[in-house]
């Protein structure tokens, strides 16, 4: 694998401009002082209770995501380009969803094959012909971005269902500002704290017509045992909306109400962090106790807005991913600003053959997997693992895609042996309301803390960093 692009150091000893002040500061700051603040940060996180649960890990059901105190920095110019690309991508995602559940022009134009849609378990026939307010399907998108050089931003994955992580973006900044006021005084960092306000505005803007002038928004959580529960309560608090569970809601005459100490109160917009499958036991999984019976009929009657809409999984599916550049061109008539990772679709015999021949160099992902589970990282895998994967791949080629191992960019990170480069990605959060699409500058930087590791997922030893966009 080629040497990764480092976001701070240029080979030969020069620094990239955005990092110059940080480098000066690091030189002035003794290692012990940095270590002391690193410990302080961990203490703060634990006290605030910012934890996440790891499924199937009974020993410690609540864990901290490791936090790295060295910020990841981007110039305003870089951000402007990225922001433009993200807005373009999310616009295309929304238009694609609108089309899939209505006219299906893109299928007729044979840009995307039919069977990828209709045989896909995340396609929701219930949404056929269903109007959603202002044609917004993906109100909150988390687009995973990686870099391999100074020029390009590459989309690794679109998250159009219930993307998480924004609470870390906000809390990381909070803690950095507490611990490193001197560092902030030396940089002009674009603030992120208006995210909750923008989210609330976006959610209110898509309220159904039957809502009152002051629409009531609630956040639907699966409950305290969900891995992202902390985030749900954090956001509900910042937005000033009720954090509801399925049992707090009831549907009457196709309207949704919450049970309060003063009786039933109508809800107009649900920011739901419950997956489609569990939303309504009458429509989807009948064994779901997380959902609200009748919610889908209230949705069909147009009395409630769900954010994100039902059925958005069809847009962020890994099988659809490889068609995204064509999707952007088809709806917007523009060249995509953000690149895709070159992707082999194992469903296509020619691609499959190539993948099987080159398994030890490729990353193979399950089309429906997430969280970094069920994937093969060829260069890091043993022979036996590769052979086992080969069998799986032959049995069910349509379940997989393959990509080259990218040399993800690196950023300086605290390790037991001092600062060292570690691979990072970035998840910016894109909000779409009735009138506008907004992105707070930055996002969540995830970092693979193990030397050489490319897996940034928190469930597999990844950490996070504060992300700074310099306001020049």
């Amino acid at each position: 694998m080629a040497v990764a692009f480092d976001e701070m150091n240029i080979p030969g000893g020069d620094l990239r401009p955005a990092y110059q002040e940080l480098a000066r500061w690091l030189k002035e700051t003794p290692a012990e002082a940095l270590e002391y603040r690193r410990q302080e940060a961990e203490l703060l996180f634990r006290r605030i209770g910012i934890t996440f649960a790891v499924y199937g890990d009974s020993e410690s059901t609540e864990r901290l995501i490791p936090f790295d105190v060295i910020p990841r920095i981007m110039s305003g110019k870089e951000w402007t380009l990225l922001e433009k690309g993200l807005k373009q991508r999310v616009r295309a995602l929304n238009m694609f969803l609108r089309d899939i559940y209505h006219g299906r022009d893109i299928l007729r134009a044979e840009i995307v094959p039919d069977d990828l849609i209709f045989q896909n378990p995340v396609f929701r026939p219930e949404m056929n012909g269903q109007q959603v307010p202002h044609d917004v399907y993906v109100h909150i998108a988390g687009i995973d971005i990686v870099r391999v050089d100074a020029e390009d931003f590459i989309v690794l994955e679109d998250n159009a269902r219930t993307p998480s992580g924004v609470s870390y973006m906000l809390e990381n900044r909070e803690i950095m500002m507490r611990l490193f006021p001197d560092l902030f005084a030396r940089h002009k960092v674009a603030p992120v704290e208006r995210y909750p306000d923008e989210l609330l505005a976006a959610l209110r803007s898509v309220a159904p017509q039957s809502a009152s002038g002051e629409p009531t928004v609630a956040l639907l959580t699966p409950g305290v045992y969900n891995s992202a529960y902390y985030e749900h309560s954090f956001l509900a608090d910042k937005l000033g909306i009720e954090l509801v569970e399925g049992r707090d809601l009831i549907v009457k005459n196709n309207e949704v109400f919450m049970r309060t100490t003063e009786g039933l109160k109508r809800v107009d917009v649900i920011y739901r962090r419950v997956d489609d499958d569990f939303l309504d036991p009458l429509t989807f999984r009948p064994d779901s106790v997380l959902g609200v019976p009748g919610l889908m009929s209230a949705y069909a009657a147009g009395n409630i807005t769900l954010a994100n809409a039902v059925g958005t999984g069809i847009a962020d599916d890994k099988a659809i991913y490889s068609y995204m550049p064509d999707i952007v061109k088809f709806y917007l008539g523009e060249e995509p600003i953000l690149k895709n990772v070159p992707t082999w679709r194992c469903r296509e015999p020619k691609d499959l053959a190539y993948v099987l021949d080159n398994l030890s160099e490729l990353v193979v992902k399950e089309v429906h997997g997430s969280g970094g589970y069920g994937m093969l990282i060829g260069p890091a895998a043993t022979k036996a693992t590769i052979e086992a994967f080969r069998d799986k791949l032959k049995r069910e080629p349509e379940g997989f895609i393959a990509q080259p191992t990218l040399a993800l960019s690196t950023c300086p990170t605290c390790t037991t042996s001092g600062l060292a480069p570690r691979h990072v990605d970035l998840r910016p959060f894109v909000l779409t309301g009735s009138k506008s699409t907004t992105i707070v500058p930055g996002g969540l930087t995830r970092v693979a803390l193990k030397e050489g590791s490319l897996v940034v997922n928190s469930s597999q030893g990844g950490g996070t960093k504060d992300t700074w966009i310099l306001d020049e």
């Binding site: 209770g49 305290v224 309560s233 707090d248 049970r259 100490t261």
Partner: protein
């Protein structure tokens, strides 16, 4: 507010209050049992600690003998005792997590820190008396901090009132239970008045509701059983007396009634109990039997809990 949120706040406060009461009970029992046998008579103080905690039946399913080791273990740390201190703190944390948005950060920090300390420091229980004393102090301080941060930081709205109701309902129950178990040593007609045996029993009762000093301030008297009963039942200047708890419960329920623009059976029932306490005096209570009076109160009090649940929490 969401009914579930109100319910969680109410139970959160009850669990914290219960944990503190258990810690005080253990503390008071340790003091009495440290005395030479001549001072405490033949009663098994650890057995009565179980009775005041209301867990005697389940205890004897797991243990043969009520001695210090077994009872401290069961009341403090046992995972099998649903109202052990450990389980109370864990339940309080779980409730806090479900209603984080309704708690101030100070309250959350109190419960979360206590839960972290419980796991980090006390996961194996305590092995020495010194350790135990530290643990009991930690529990009491957690409760004080929780109460104090609620008082100092919460908005005075329904969230606060539901939380306060949990405190006062639980507190009334605890005070009534200790009276229920110990009423016999308070009976005035006993021939021996003020023997050393009784003195230590009485001071133990007062200690478990943190009222020993208060007694002296209120009555400026040596310990007398009917005055102890008067203090714990009727004196509304003592925060843990039944009268004071009901004064507060009525006030909290009225505040909710005003805020919501209507009242119901909970308000009426609470007022009924308060009026009975206001119009009683110790003579009448002793005439009709302390035991019966307390039993009736315990039933009435838990009935109020049910009514509140039905009216607001489900």
């Amino acid at each position: 507010m969401l009914s579930r949120t109100a319910e969680n706040l109410y139970w959160l406060a009850r669990y914290v209050e219960r944990a503190e009461y258990l810690a005080r009970t253990i503390d008071a029992t340790l003091r009495v049992t440290a005395l030479p046998a001549a001072y405490i008579g033949k009663t098994n103080e650890w057995d009565s600690a179980l009775l005041t905690a209301g867990v005697a039946a389940s205890f004897y399913q797991a243990y043969e003998e009520a001695n210090e080791h077994n009872v401290v273990e069961y009341l403090s740390f046992s995972p099998n005792n649903p109202s052990s201190i450990r389980n109370c703190i864990e339940a309080a944390r779980l409730n806090s997590r479900s209603v984080r948005t309704a708690l101030t950060s100070e309250m959350w920090d109190t419960i979360n820190s206590a839960w972290i300390e419980l796991q980090a420091v006390w996961s194996k229980g305590t092995s020495t008396r010194e350790d135990l004393a530290k643990f009991l102090r930690f529990v009491q301080e957690t409760s004080l901090r929780f109460d104090g941060s609620a008082y100092r930081t919460m908005l005075r709205n329904d969230a606060y009132w539901f939380s306060r109701m949990g405190v006062h309902l639980e507190r009334a129950d605890n005070t009534a239970r200790i009276l229920d178990v110990k009423y016999h040593v308070l009976l005035p007609e006993e021939e021996h008045v003020g023997g050393p045996l009784d003195f230590y029993q009485w001071s133990s009762i007062l200690r478990s509701v943190s009222a020993l000093t208060a007694y002296h301030w209120v009555y400026r008297e040596t310990l007398k059983p009917w005055l102890i009963a008067d203090l714990l039942i009727l004196n509304d200047t003592l925060p843990r007396s039944l009268a004071s708890c009901y004064g507060n419960l009525v006030r909290n329920l009225d505040q909710i009634g005003v805020a919501y623009g209507r009242q119901g059976p909970a308000q009426r029932h609470a007022r009924g109990i308060r009026n009975r306490l206001e119009h009683s005096n110790m003579n009448d209570i002793f005439q009709h039997g302390v035991h019966e009076f307390i039993q009736e109160f315990i039933t009435d009090n838990s009935r109020l809990g049910e009514i509140i649940t039905k009216q607001y929490l489900i």
